[in-house]
Amino acid sequence: MQRCDRTDLADQAGSGTTHSRKRSSGIYVHIAGDPGSTASLNNFPYETWVSVSVTGDIVFTSEMPAPGVGANYQFPGRAVGPTGIYDSRNDTPWALNLSVMGAIWNNGNFGLCGGTAHVDTALISGGLVTVRRGQMLFQYSYDCDPRGFMTCHTIPSGQSQTINLKAIPVSLKASSDVRAVNFATTTTDIRFKAFPSPATLFVENGTRDVKLTTTFWQWIGADLTRAQVSQGTCAYPSGPATSRTCLFHPLESGRMVVKAYLGGYEQASSVSVQCLMPLTDPYLNDSTNDFQFRTTLLDALAMSNPDSAPGLGATAQHAGFRHEESGIIWHLPDNTYTFTHTIDSAATECHSNALAERAPGATYPPQPVPGAYPVSIYHTHPEKPGDPVYGCSGIDPNHPMWSQYPGDSLPVQHAGNFSKAGGGSGAHLFPADTTGDWPIVEKYATSMYVIQKDGTVWRLDPGLGFPKKNNPNHWSAFGTGYDGNHPAGKCTWAKPYKA
């Protein structure tokens, strides 16, 4: 058997009909059954590893063989797949097969001539890559007509096969050689790197590099100043390479965003460089995962809609736009951490429950992965001192009820200075009550994190003595909330990047 991968087939009659559209499962292109038809593949601007597969057959017809015709005459007509049919009488002994043409590299097209079709893997770039149908079966009129007038093989019109083109999934990753800098006192050069994951593919018994082309570098400072970086090593577009680096000198904490073309489209990734917080904290200072817990807290606060007016949107049926958000920190079997956001449909401006998704009788919600266990919980306080607070609930019939929404004729609570409470509620109630933050910390013997609208972040630890206002575990994620003399400043936490 032969591989049907020759690409120097002679032009033959026929023309291709192509159209393409993007789908989640790839790009589909149709190629006509006529010999020599072509179909253009997607115009990837930079080299891209793709898989190419074909579905469907085309059928050729064959006239009755004339007396004495040799065994090489193809009769009867039949369906042929993308590998075509072996035809020893042609100069090149195959026919009607499909070939990828113009690829930088490909893996033997669709398989052995006339054999079972496989998926081709190819490296392609530009708009000139096509799939072409091979030549017609050897035509010799005397094969089927002693007078020599008939056409022995034909391809009935209207036939086509479908080509499915998929870019092989590759993700863009970003890293930096320095992950933490105390920008309050110093600055330094930092080398940022963009690279693909995976870095190589194993194709046809060989390791092949995956390349990317950077199209954008931008430093987003913690104060949201943006510096588009395009000089020196950071120049873009870069041209294909297995990785690219960008040497930059930030003056404050922030996030480097890189965009690059790989895997069939332009992707974005980012990495932050931030200050370590004083008072060693295992989650807030985890630079190995790009400070994901800080991102989690900032995201939770944003989802709390702290800039929405108190009570706005709140009705008897709806808690309103401003509300607490909460979640859980999980320890994973590989000694890293992950953070889950809890959907608490009962959350209000006054309370939320990080454990709301647990099943009846269970202590915690289901693990995100087997072997994970919870180590801490977090929630938000989306109000500032003096704000009205809707949605507080009383604990017994011997005390007043509180307004759940504007207009319900009940008295409205107001937020005090939560610093007076060490960042959490319920210090006075333990152990008589277990609904407040401090009682929950004691009940579950676990720490709890709280992020306030003003940017103050608290960690409530079990066993901390009274008064709770002396809680030493507080930091400024942004702003000057806790102490105007010690603003977050150049150590403001880097904002999450939303592509």
Binding site: P385, G386, N398, N417
Partner: protein, 138 residues
Amino acid sequence: MRVFAIIFVVLVLYSANGHAQNCKTADATSAAMISQLNEMMTGDSTIRVNLQLPVTNSSQIVFVSTDSVCLRARQALDSLTHATNPSSPSTIPARALYVISVGGYVAVADPTDGASGWLPMYIFDPLWSFLQSLIGWD
């Protein structure tokens, strides 16, 4: 001796049913109340402005231990409970309260109270009309 014991039992019962325990004694919670009130009432505090309360000199922020005042505070608080909570009993159990005089106003906290885990601080005007409530100070 027997008469003395009877008097002692009567005093204990009197105390237990609340007649002599309308005021909590000063402790960390009352100190926290005074701290919060001093911070918010003596200047341009956002909290004071939002609660529409007048500026008050810190010398006028005074812990109250006068039983009759605390009793009046409890009556005002129970009245607010009856007005807002349809589940409230006709007679709410007696208990001692923290009461702070703030100029002509009165701040009250009930240590058996809770609003989603927070201890509310109630502000009443000089005529014992309820004005505002504050959480997140303790």
